[in-house]
């Protein structure tokens, strides 16, 4: 055991005494994550602000006096560039106006039937015919879509209400029944929804990336450089060398994953700041949940270390090892993503036993406050057993002269 710790310490010293390595492993990812999220947040924020501040360009055909009044008193009317035209004026420039909508130069055409005013008057007086209004907008243009939405809520709704009010007097008569909808949910669970979607994917992927970056070099790299042999001819059991290597790989990748996850969680407000609350606020785990998360992560790292340790041992050099690991990395990413968009359906206990996928399911459930003890145990046990098997295989492979010395 002492020799295992000695080897693990040497591996850790190798990384932590190399400033470039520390920078690329632990500092650069944080800078990248924070920078990307900040830039995304700012871009989204400035885009929303730009749309908000845009002066809508609207053409209203055959406006009634009432509509003009509603528009001028609305918030939109103060900022929008509104042109009122008659039917004849519209017909003479119809193609031009419609083209301007298509090109994004204009945002909205509001067309009222020529007789809108008289039909509206007869409707108010109790008539059966309904006045007709057509609105043309370009759904592929942000400004146009936003203008439609604002016009609909600020002008059209107000106009409708005014006409209904004039006809019926008391609008509450139009209500068949009252609906009072109230949200019943655990506040913390609502806040954790976003995390439940992102965290399993982040953990599953980042832990693997962390192990991958250090594991390949620790075994295949040392084999390639001929430095592993110096340990193999020392009076140390192969299993002690394997354990020392795997422990150091696990420690390094856990640090890497924690650093990355913390950076990501801290960066989420940067992006949510741009689009309002995405449900990431007030994230909190209980001590029990934290311990469960740590247990899931540690066991998962152990499994990853086994996978990468085995591939690195079987590969003659780092290039071969990296090539062999790439497809596995893709599978890991897919497994992580599979839990991102899952609906409320329950998974069988067997799925929790599957390494990686089971861990992602367990983390997802943990965030949703739905992780049962049996599913937690299944995910930990399944991954742990596979990790132990892999460790034995790696130790066995270390005894192979063909693999170690290409003999």
């Amino acid at each position: 055991m002492n020799k295992t710790i000695l080897i693990a310490k040497k591996e850790l010293f190798r990384i932590f005494s190399d400033r470039k390595m520390v920078f690329s492993l632990y500092i650069l990812p944080v800078i990248i994550v924070v920078a990307i999220y900040s830039i995304m947040g700012q871009l989204i924020g400035s885009m929303s602000k730009d749309i908000e501040e845009h002066n809508a360009v609207i053409t209203v055909v055959n406006p009634t006096d009432e509509l003009k009044d509603i528009i001028s008193s609305s918030e939109m009317g103060k900022n929008a560039d509104i042109t009122f035209v008659t039917e004849d004026e519209y017909n003479s420039k119809k193609a031009e106006i419609e083209d301007s909508i298509l090109n994004g130069d204009s945002d909205l055409i509001v067309y009222l039937d020529k007789d809108f005013g008289s039909v509206a008057d007869s409707y108010v007086a109790g008539g059966d015919s309904l006045p007709s209004m057509k609105i043309f907008y370009n759904s592929t243009e942000n400004y146009s879509s936003a203008s439609y939405s604002n016009f609909d809520s600020e002008v059209v709704d107000t106009y409708k209400t005014t006409l209904l009010d004039s006809r019926y007097g008391d609008l509450s008569m139009l209500n068949a029944f009252n609906v009072d909808s109230q949200v019943i949910c655990k506040e913390e669970k609502a806040n954790m929804e976003f995390l439940a979607m992102m965290l399993p994917y982040m953990v599953v992927m980042m832990l693997f990336a962390g192990v991958m970056s250090v594991g390949v070099d620790a075994i295949a790299g040392e084999k390639e450089r001929g430095t592993l042999s110096s340990m193999l001819i020392s009076p140390v059991k192969r299993s002690e060398i394997v354990a020392g290597k795997l422990i150091s790989m696990a420690i390094l990748s856990i640090i890497s994953a924690v650093v990355y996850c913390v950076a990501m969680i801290l960066s989420i407000p940067n992006i949510t700041g741009g689009v309002g609350n995405m449900g990431a606020g007030n994230i909190s785990f209980t001590v029990g949940q934290m311990l469960q998360l740590v247990a899931i992560m540690v066991v998962l790292v152990y499994f990853y270390v086994g996978v990468i340790g085995l591939i690195a041992t079987l590969s003659p050099n780092t290039r071969a090892a990296s090539s062999a690991i790439s497809p596995i990395y893709i599978v890991i990413i897919i497994l992580g993503m599979m839990t991102m968009f899952r609906t409320g359906g329950t998974n069988s206990i067997g799925s929790y036993l599957i390494p990686v996928y089971g861990s992602a399911l367990a983390i997802s459930d943990l965030c949703k406050l739905e992780l049962t003890s049996i599913n937690f145990l299944a995910s930990v046990t399944g991954t742990l057993v596979c990790g132990i098997i892999l460790t034995f295989v790696v130790a066995k492979a270390f005894n192979s002269e063909k693999l170690m010395f290409n003999a």
Binding site: R14, E222, R225, T227, S230, I233, P235, V236, F405, A407
Partner: protein
Amino acid sequence: MIEINNLTKIYKLSAKKKRELKTNKDVKIAVNDLSLTAKPGEIFGLLGPNGAGKTTTLRCVATLLKPTKGDIKVCGFDTVKDAQKVRDSICFLTNEIKLDEHFSTDYLFNFFGKLKDMSDEEIAKRKEELFAAFNINEFKDKKIQELSTGMKQKASIAVSLVNDPEVVIFDEPTSGLDIVTAKGVLDYLKKLRADGKTVIVSTHIMSEAEKLCDRIGMIIGGKKVIEGTIPEILEETQTPDIEEAFFKLYMENTDEKEVK
């Protein structure tokens, strides 16, 4: 003491290896029924052309490879059954085994000392002795990657000798070294002999073997073709020097086709 008894090492050849070696055979006999003994207080030289089986033999002695047939005893311990004890009493130096370039000689000396169950005091004492012998003190804190080839070789020798092993195995000890460093290494091997250690070296430099070795075993095509002191070999082959003796034996033991 090293006792090699009827050592045979056969490699299975993969399809890729077969292509590399341009052969249809499924196996390659690297060492064929080889026996020899290297005694304490002597330098034993393994001589042979490239690919003769010298390195494979030394790797088997160093426990890195397992014999296909036969057995090897180092200080009385079997290299397969008591591999750990054998590793405890040997140092094996070869160009293929290198020190991790990221560390300093000082760090690696301490690391391997502890790996070989030495106390801090023992390591410090041994470090003083070996670092002085190889003039390592001036670069002991530099990373291996910053050292010259000669310095690296000195560092490798010092680190591998940290636990004062009884048996020293050297594969091509002066390969790639300048003449000054090479002499320093050979002088140290002579000192080890004087200290009563068993030293076994492989080389294809005949003049080096003639000056250094007490006894020589020549290997050609995986087989030992002669073993003895230099005068014994010269007498048996009726040649004036080791180089001539080697060529005579080489011609006798290699078929014409292969020589061409």
